[in-house]
Symmetry: C2
Subunit: 368 residues, 2 copies
């Protein structure tokens, strides 16, 4: 689908000229990939007045798992190893007689910015800001299909884990096994480091697996993600180990479940991001858990696992249709453990059936 | 060993004042960890005229696998989520009446640099350059001990793999199994993505594992690394599958082995980095493989898997004692495969027995 990439670059070109710059130098890898179809290590993309050029530090690999560069794009490999493709890009923009070049100031370091200025002193460097990130917000149906496949993979990996014996195994081993299963089912790899928390570690956001073993009576919380052709999605579930959950476990689970459902149900085109956060947060808040909560209850996903929009109390902006987001509230009680429930969904209008749930593993409290 | 961290910060302070700046703001995670004993996500370190302060975006985790902050250090957690600790650090430096602040321009983005300027307009921002990276070059014996343990772990993981049946298994599965074994033997995790290449993929530097299965007659090349308490080392070996290697395989293996040995033997305090590279490279070069070689034949290791010194034709500088480096020449013949042999060693003076080999797995050509 080379025309997709060319169309994306044309949209960026329009934004640039509206902002007063003739050309843009894209350095952030996920942005390069979005516009070029591939992001070989260190490669940068010049979207200019002439031909668009992907500048690479070395020969782009034949068998790149990360995709192939769009064929409508010129690929230029730096002749000398160790050179900075961004510097070569500024040089090329100057050679194309561009007067100004927009760069990603939120990604480019001060030292590289200086090197660009020094190689092309007449080129005025402007700030591209998050223009490409903005373009990436709303996904097309092909992108959503890739996320959907990734979600099937995480659902499958998780369901297989639940069929195995868990008591006595360590968090680290469960995390590794989940990652192996992701690969077995066709993922490029995990979308982020798999988090498995047992007992007092359960429900902690971003908990890094330890050597603690699963015990009877534990909460077990799992958060994993798959990358499929570059697109990343995630799922989080909490289970209880043993036949009969304690009362506090049932209560806490029901509460987090209600918060997560409220967040999911709030997803609709035109809804403010902060209102989705509030829908979930106020349920936990009014139960007295307000102070220990994570700063957000969800975020966008796509070529990166954590991208815009942010579902936080201070977030600006509204949701659009075809924006995939996570909804992942949780409560962690220090020393006791906690619950986290996390889905990836796509915002859809009511007429299309409302939010599309990608991660369909059950959210009933399973006793394993 | 809190005094170690305090001593490192004092060395940095000396460099700063020699360079005319009163304080330094360290943002690069490996540098923060080197000076503070821990690098919680997003944390930055202010090494100033007053107390040194580790500024964190959130509460530093109790059970941080990445180490605990040095106790002689003040830890300050930002009150508001979403704030930038670097901005808070500049604010604090200004409050400490520092007139200038050295920042890591090779790590700080243009946007963050601008935010620092705007919060503390009277503070003159200077460039710290690679001052901390320079301090990190020569390791103390405690750091070398951690690398030695990491090397034992990779040796063990590799030797276990070699005892299993390999034919019919995919590159991806072998890579995952190696990573699981690293964890089994106590690694924090892999030091980088494990590379396993079979047949035509063998010997490719940085090859990402595919679904290709190991076949009789293949070269099988493996490159893996372990992180142990933050320190990263690596090993690379090439094997042949089946009872009798082909003549071209034996010849190519012997050649790369000779190049790698020459590189290892060149390691000594006072030797120019480029001379180590040349020692290995010229053997491959004179056999006619000069044009397709990787840009370097080795690099430093430590808190990062690829740090200074670089062993490349254009490298400046000389080796010192107690600098750990890799020596990893290789040849890849497109369509046929190749050989790569990679060790982690510590530069030691002749009087101490010469270079210390950390990765001791045999480099004979094993037929598996």
């Amino acid at each position: 689908m080379p025309e997709v990439y060319a169309a994306r670059r044309d949209r960026l070109r329009d934004r640039c000229s509206a902002g007063g710059s003739a050309a843009a130098l894209v350095t952030r890898p996920a942005n390069v990939r979005y516009l070029a179809g591939a992001a070989p290590q260190g490669a940068v993309l010049l979207v200019g007045t002439g031909e668009d050029v992907l500048l690479c530090a070395g020969p782009p690999d034949d068998e790149l798992i990360d995709g192939r560069p769009d064929e409508s794009l010129r690929v230029q490999v730096l002749p000398l190893p160790g050179g900075d493709p961004a510097v070569a890009g500024a040089d090329l923009a100057a050679a194309q007689s561009a007067e100004s070049l927009a760069v990603e100031e939120h990604h480019l370091t001060v030292a590289r910015h200086r090197a660009l200025t020094s190689v092309a002193p007449r080129l005025r460097l402007l700030d591209l800001g998050g223009a490409v990130e903005q373009l990436r917000l709303v996904k097309d149906e092909d992108e959503i299909s890739l996320l959907r496949i990734g979600a099937e993979i995480v659902d499958q990996a998780l369901s297989e884990l639940l069929e195995s014996i868990l008591v006595g195994r360590t968090e680290r081993h469960l995390a590794l096994e989940l990652e192996r299963r992701l690969i077995d089912h066709g993922a490029d790899g995990p979308a982020f480091s798999t988090s498995v928390g047992t007992g007092p570690n359960s429900g902690r956001p971003g908990h890094r697996p330890t050597d603690r073993r699963v015990e009877e009576g534990d909460f077990l919380s799992v958060c994993l993600g798959a990358t499929y052709r570059g697109y990343r999605c995630e799922i989080g579930r909490t289970f209880v180990i043993g036949t009969s959950p304690a009362d506090w476990q049932i209560e806490l689970y029901d509460l987090v479940f209600a918060a997560q459902r409220a967040g999911r149900q709030a997803l609709a085109p035109g809804v403010a991001c902060r209102d989705v956060d509030r829908a979930a947060r106020q349920i936990l808040d009014s139960a007295g858990y307000g102070s220990g909560l994570a700063p957000g209850t969800g975020h966008g996903v796509g070529l990166e696992i954590d991208e815009d929009p942010q579902l936080t109390p201070a977030a600006m902006g509204k949701l659009d249709a075809c924006v995939p987001v996570t909804v992942e509230p949780g409560v962690h009680l220090p020393g006791r453990g906690g619950v986290r429930i996390d889905d990836t969904l796509v915002v859809r209008p009511e007429a299309d059936g409302g939010p599309e749930l990608l991660t369909i593993t059950t959210k009933e409290l399973l006793a394993l």
